[in-house]
Amino acid sequence: MSLDPTYLEYGKRGLGYDHALYPYAPLPKRAPLAWPGGQRVAVWFTVSLEWFPITPSDTPFRAPGHMQTAYPDYRHYTSREYGTRVGFYRLLDAFAKVGARVSVAVNAAIATRYPQIIADIVDAGHEIIAHSTDMNGTIASTLPVEQERALIAQSLATLEAATGQRPRGWHSIARSQSFATLDLLKEAGVDYCVDWVNDEMPFAFNNGLVNIPLNHELSDRQIINVQQQSVDSYAQQVLDAHDWLSAEAQAQGGGRMLPLHLTPYIIGLPYRMDAFEGLLVDLAARPDTWFARGGDIFDAFAANQG
């Protein structure tokens, strides 16, 4: 038994990455990036607002949270809708209480189906970032590039028509991209995506698109749904992260980001909301907290780049 000899050839073994998507730059060696108000920690909530067709598509893959039983899967279809109808409004009220403005990653189908929600988001001063068409709109390299281009265009055009403003940010379902995605987003006029979790501060891809990393580990989905920890533990972990990032920013200069990805049908349940509201109060009480939207972080990064 032996392997094909090419398995021991390493054509991209050299300085830097094995791709040309972005340059290598370790965080401690980059110039500090200060936030506009001088706070140490930008707390950036991104709420995913999603519509799952009861007829799931596996092309190119089935989205996390999608239908699981044989058709018709009432339990998952309606549980996800619960998040949109009820849980999301609990979150809007909670954000309003502490004066936090957030990013909402919205499926275009939400704008088409529930225009009142879009108005409520915009009226509250939150930012809408594009989150594909609906939860059948997944992206991977196995999706033909023309279909991917059309999916991105449709998502952006629908949300722009609903809000009067073209979304500046993009969040792929499950953060899944193809090798073409970064260029397609740039071509569509998007300022930033949030999918790459390799950093804790914004950075620019080689094509000029910016990545604002939305930590996938510090999400309610990962901690509460996947790892099955309690909402109290979730809140503790967020505060531990805040403590660390604040101290690190003080020691190294500039600011740090604390990106918190939320899912209304997970965090917005009655038995979890009190703990989450308590977390918001704790975060708001810390003088080094800046509640920022993705666009605010992008602007601070862009201004710093000169």
């Binding site: 021991l8 791709h19 401690p28 953060r175 992260a241």
Partner: protein, 294 residues
């Protein structure tokens, strides 16, 4: 090992009860070593017929970029905490990291850390290699680490834990002292090899941060408590035990985990039963104990 045999004949059975106690240097009861895995995962690796690499079509953005966090952010956060509390690392190294991100390797070397090989990339598996191919990755590892750090590697942890029936014989033949691939004991123990000598160095899957966070789904504070319990138990038993803390900085270096982890290091560093050291030093001390016992 004996290839094809139901018993791979890796080592002799020796029960834990009744072993002769011995002390580590300084009279310490438990040798504690930290093994940061400094890795490089390729974005678009070739397929190995025996094991798939990424779960998704390339690029697996979350899989790849999560690992990349180690080399952009996590390494320094983890390493600074280790240095602050006096813990050196014994690095499980994807040796191609020496070419891709020499900054990371140089930083570890400057901190006095030891290096052993974890293969070329953590996306190139040994399954299916013939002897000539496996010799090639061993020789590549020895050469690459020597050129990058001046160090001669003394140990091996198979890339992504992929082995062949020849691996242990070959690394012993090339003069290595220890393997981190066997999990049968809390003390070093001789491994049967065709030429030369080799010991198993207790590494750990059970308290590996990857197992803690992704197999056992622990919270950061639960993981920290687990490490402290592991330490307290091993320090309380007959002396001569080894506790390894295998880490991946894209996991332990996340902002919600590093604080609780620092408390573990503070706890162990404050306890006078711990010999805080490196894998090669443990091997040397163990061989010396065996010599003295003759």
């Amino acid at each position: 090992m004996r290839e094809g045999s139901p018993d791979p004949e890796l080592y002799e059975f020796q029960r834990y009860r009744g072993r002769k106690p011995f002390a580590w240097p300084g009279g310490k009861k438990v040798a504690v070593w930290i093994s940061p895995n400094l890795e490089y995962y390729e974005i678009d690796p070739p397929a190995n017929p025996h094991r798939k690499s990424w779960a998704k079509p390339h690029p697996d953005v979350v899989g790849y970029s999560h690992r990349d966090h180690a080399n952009r952010v996590g390494h320094w956060r983890m390493a600074d905490v280790m240095s602050k509390h006096g813990f050196p690392g014994s690095v499980s190294l994807s040796v191609a990291l020496c070419q891709h991100h020499p900054d990371v390797v140089a930083d570890a070397n400057a901190r006095g850390w030891e290096f052993f090989s974890h293969g070329i990339y953590n996306t190139r598996y040994s399954y299916g290699m013939d002897e000539r191919q496996e010799r090639a990755i061993i020789e590549d590892s020895i050469r690459t680490v020597r050129e990058a750090t001046g160090q001669a590697i003394r140990g091996w942890l198979a890339p992504a834990l992929t082995h062949t029936p020849r691996t242990l014989d070959l690394i012993a033949e090339y003069g290595m002292d220890y393997t981190c691939d066997l999990y049968h004991d809390d003390q070093p123990f001789p491994v049967k090899v065709s030429k030369g000598r080799l010991i198993s160095m207790p590494y750990s899957l059970e308290v590996n941060d990857h197992y803690g966070f992704f197999i056992y789904n622990m919270s950061p504070r639960e993981y920290a408590q687990t490490l402290i319990r592991q330490y307290e138990r091993l320090a309380a038993e007959e002396s001569g035990t080894v506790m390894c803390i295998p880490l991946h900085s894209y996991l332990i270096g996340q902002p919600h985990r590093i604080g609780p982890f620092e408390e573990v290091l503070r706890h162990i560093a404050a306890d006078d039963r711990a010999w805080i050291t490196r894998a090669g030093d443990i091997a040397d001390a163990w061989y010396a104990v065996q010599e003295d016992a003759r």
